[in-house]
């Protein structure tokens, strides 16, 4: 597929829109279907498309494997960290009311942060797993 000019140009044009769509799905998840889980998977799909068309090495220059592994762990830390912060502020674990004066705003911030953790973890996990499956056997042959 590396020589197909239409596929190459098409993939290049589509990628930013797919990433934009993932971010839209994430940040608009409060008002429409979507959220961290879906956004993380769509974000991975953008990089999977690039890897299928341009080859794994090209994508790994942009998004190195250590970074995706870091993301996978970082998201869990963000999610758990929100819980610890609310506990330090004197509420229950993951009691978002503590995050702002008005409990409703606290809930909004809490949900946004927690969904961010989900997005980062799901993206990191899916991209790492994709790299492992796609990269195995290629480096040695």
């Amino acid at each position: 597929m590396r020589e197909e000019i239409i596929v190459r140009v098409g993939a290049k044009i589509l990628t930013p829109f797919i990433i934009m769509f993932a971010l839209y799905v994430h940040f608009h998840g409060d008002y429409s279907p979507g959220g961290g889980f879906q956004a993380g998977v769509i974000l991975t799909a953008a990089f999977a498309l690039l890897a299928l068309v341009y080859g794994l090495a090209a994508v790994q220059r942009v998004l190195p494997p250590w970074f995706t592994r870091l993301c996978a762990a970082l998201g869990v830390v963000i999610y758990g960290g929100v819980g610890v912060v609310t506990m330090l502020l004197g509420h229950n674990y993951l009691g978002y009311d503590a995050l702002a004066q008005d409990p409703k705003y606290g809930q909004h911030y809490g949900i946004l942060l927690v969904e961010l953790g989900v997005l980062v973890t799901v993206f990191g996990v899916m991209a790492s797993v994709f790299y492992l499956f796609a990269g195995r056997g290629r480096s040695e042959s």
Partner: protein, 132 residues
């Protein structure tokens, strides 16, 4: 058995049929990747069972209409049950994560034994045991 009863239970029966198709693939096929596909079919049928339970006829998706603070628009809207949706949404993502672990195991087994067929793996194991 009336038509009404048939229509109101058709969902459950197809779900059970798909569940059994997945189960059958799982226990009757020897190829490990085919088994994982069967497990996925089984899993999706469980998702459908949950979502079928949450549906209300004439309902809308559980995204609140208007500004969400009552008012006349809200009185006439029926929402489907959001709880099964939440459970299944997370289950799907966990499902793909566990599927990828299964596929990774299958790849390692293929590399170690040179095959993915259950009976051939058993034969190789028996040979190894006999030679020891």
């Amino acid at each position: 058995m009336s038509l009404d009863f048939f229509v109101s239970h058709y969902n459950y029966w197809v779900v059970i049929f798909l569940m059994m198709v997945g189960f059958y693939i799982l226990i009757s096929r020897g190829n490990l990747i085919k088994k994982i596909v069967g497990l996925n079919v089984f899993q999706t049928s469980v998702f459908m069972l949950y979502i079928s339970m949450g549906k209300i006829t004439g309902g809308t998706p559980p995204i609140l209409v208007g500004d969400g603070h009552g008012g006349e628009a809200m009185e006439h809207v029926v929402y489907s049950n959001p709880l099964p949706h939440v459970l299944i949404l997370t289950a799907i993502v966990v499902g793909i994560a566990t599927t990828s672990v299964g596929l990774a195991l299958a790849v390692r087994i293929k590399e170690a034994y040179g095959t993915l067929e259950e009976d051939e793996i058993n034969r190789i194991e028996a040979l190894v045991e006999a030679s020891e």
